[in-house]
């Protein structure tokens, strides 16, 4: 098992390397470089940039040098100093801008995955073991609605109705009084009170999809001979379903986490804009629109790396769950 994990971690290195080159390519795509934008931006505001500063930035990021030198310097700055470059729209180092947002994004994404799994597991198991029952039809019906309604619409509807009915706005992750307050128990509770809304919104489509996957997988497994063997041994029905067919039906379910993560991260952009969440989504959108290259590139790099880690986690989970994978 340890050997397997090591093997997978080693495989990650070239993957991340490839991703970082791609991200750098994205940064380099727009004509000119960030310094020309930066200087132009500042002079447009009537400010002049000291020659010394320009020269220093040029040296630091290797601007004007061949792309591979620039890439090397970018990576070197990231790895050695945690310096992802500068955001010219914000006139701040990228690293000052992204970590909070990455943290919130990860929090929301992970909680959403957990939410999706738990809800899908119970509903999917019920739907499969009660195939063609009323409950199964209801689950299927809401599943289709969940899949069909776009997330941002759900977000807008929720905002509208909570304002109309309760007169409160669920937007953002904090109430105004806690927005800039230091962390405290009250602030945590306030966060949790706001957090469930994006989780439910982001999780609906995923849950609907996961229910359908789990139900279909489970229906395939429920009548397999090994289930009948367990029943013939006298295993109680409830234990039996969870222990045998559900365990197998989980496999394809877990292997989807790999692509659930980036899906959630990218899918959350519009929802985050609508709900005014301090996640990576809105900032990335702005960075892309304003060609804020280092900011955009760094986001994409970090999100991609997180996705690779997510895939690794799902693979390790799979191997832990399925001895056939562990042994091959």
């Amino acid at each position: 098992m340890i050997q397997y994990i090591l093997h997978r971690v080693l495989l990650m290195i070239p993957t991340v390397f490839g991703i970082s080159i791609l991200c750098f390519g994205i940064i380099q795509l727009p004509p000119g470089d960030f310094l020309t934008f930066y200087v132009a931006e500042l002079s447009a505001q009537g400010e002049s940039v000291p020659e010394a500063q320009i020269a220093q930035l040029e040296r630091q990021y290797g601007l004007g040098r061949p792309w591979y030198v620039q890439y090397f310097l970018w990576m070197k700055n990231i790895i050695t100093k945690g310096d992802f470059g500068r955001s010219f729209t914000w006139n701040k180092p990228v690293s000052d801008l992204i970590w909070d947002r990455i943290a919130f994004t990860m929090l929301i994404t992970l909680l959403t995955v957990v939410f999706v799994w738990i809800v899908a597991l119970f509903i999917g198991k019920y739907a499969a073991t009660h195939q063609y029952s009323l409950g199964d039809y209801i689950a299927t019906f809401f599943g289709f609605i969940g899949l069909a309604v776009p997330n941002f619409l759900l977000a807008l509807l929720l905002l509208y109705y909570s304002l109309q009915l309760f007169g409160l706005s669920p937007a953002g992750l904090f109430s105004p009084e806690y927005q800039d307050a230091p962390w405290s128990v009250g602030k945590w509770i306030d966060l949790l009170a706001h957090l469930w809304i994006p989780i439910v919104i982001l999780g609906t489509a995923g849950t609907a999809g996961a229910i359908r996957i789990l139900r279909a997988n489970l229906l395939d497994e429920l009548h397999k001979p090994y289930v009948i063997t367990a029943r013939a041994k006298g295993v109680p029905e409830r234990t039996l379903i969870w222990r045998y067919p559900v365990r197998v039906a989980l496999n394809p379910f877990i292997s989807t986490v790999g692509w659930t993560l980036p899906d959630l991260v990218s899918g959350s952009i519009i929802v985050s804009v609508v709900l005014n969440l301090p996640t990576t989504g809105p900032l990335l959108l702005g960075a892309l629109l304003q060609q804020d290259m280092f900011l955009a590139g760094s986001f994409i790099l970090l999100v991609s790396v997180l996705t690779v880690i997510g895939t690794l986690i799902s693979d390790v989970l799979l191997a832990w769950l399925d001895p056939r994978i562990r042994f091959s």
């Binding site: 041994k233 006298g234 295993v235 001895p323």
Partner: protein
Amino acid sequence: MSNSNHNAGADILLDIRGLKTYFHLDEGTVRAVDGVDFTVPRGTTIGIVGESGCGKSVTAFSILQLVEKPGRIEEGSIVLNTGGQNRVDIAALDHDSEELRQIRGKDIGMIFQEPMTSLSMMYTVGFQMTEAIRLHMDVEKDEARDRAIEMLQAVGIPRPEQRFDAYPFELSGGMRQRVMIAMALSCDPMLLIADEPTTALDVTTQAQILELMQQLQEEFGMAIMLITHDLGVVAEMCSEVVVMYLGEVVEQADVDTIFHNPQHPYTQALLESIPRLGHSHEGRLNPILGSVPDPYHRPSGCPFHPRCTQIITGRCETVHPEISRLDPRHTVRCLLHEDPHG
């Protein structure tokens, strides 16, 4: 039903009467088991034979209430006599009741046709065996482990301590079937139901498994209900034979009677369909004249009449024969043998 004292003399472990198990499909109802009567004496091996689709597996599955939707036991009783006056009608139990679960795996063990898929690939052999043992015996984990290893040894698995921790996919088909047998016998059942236990195995392994079952029967003394297509196996293993046709038992008798003095025209046809019994180890049933009717449209009267060479024209098409008892342990369902007192 027929006379009530018909089991006098024999020590009956399992008494199945009027068992009907139907499948309710959109296209119609499949009467897979349609009035099955037979008895299993304690400690003996009884063979169930009949053409494919005649309801052997459904009968076996019904005994442990393992028939799944859209199948259902409609009628009949499956009385298990666990000793003395302890009789329980399995067919009347709730499908997830404690009482039924105590019979499954404890009083009656079962092995299946497909050893490759009958064990879960997610758990070790040891886990799946001790699960059964701990469900039915009041033992600690390590005692259950000892018991499982002892059983693995008993079914001839080399290095049982290591196999205990193996996953089923690491074992061959024959080894897996041995594990299934070890698991089914681990709680010392009174009856082992084996539904074509060797069909999926190669010829050498088949012989080994059958020999093992015989040897284990001598050792543990359980009764075996052996479902098979192979009349050669029946001749070798069984002391009694139940012949099924279209969801009914048409004849039950001891093995000598079935082979040398069969009374039902279907049994006779079945035996004639194997060229030279005993000379060919491939004693498989060859098709008898005509074919098995479509399961949705059972013939009226005696279900065998469209294929019967001894048909009593005018009666067999309309009258459904009752069971006649020719000897204490020889029953036949045919109008040629109508019980004058029945």
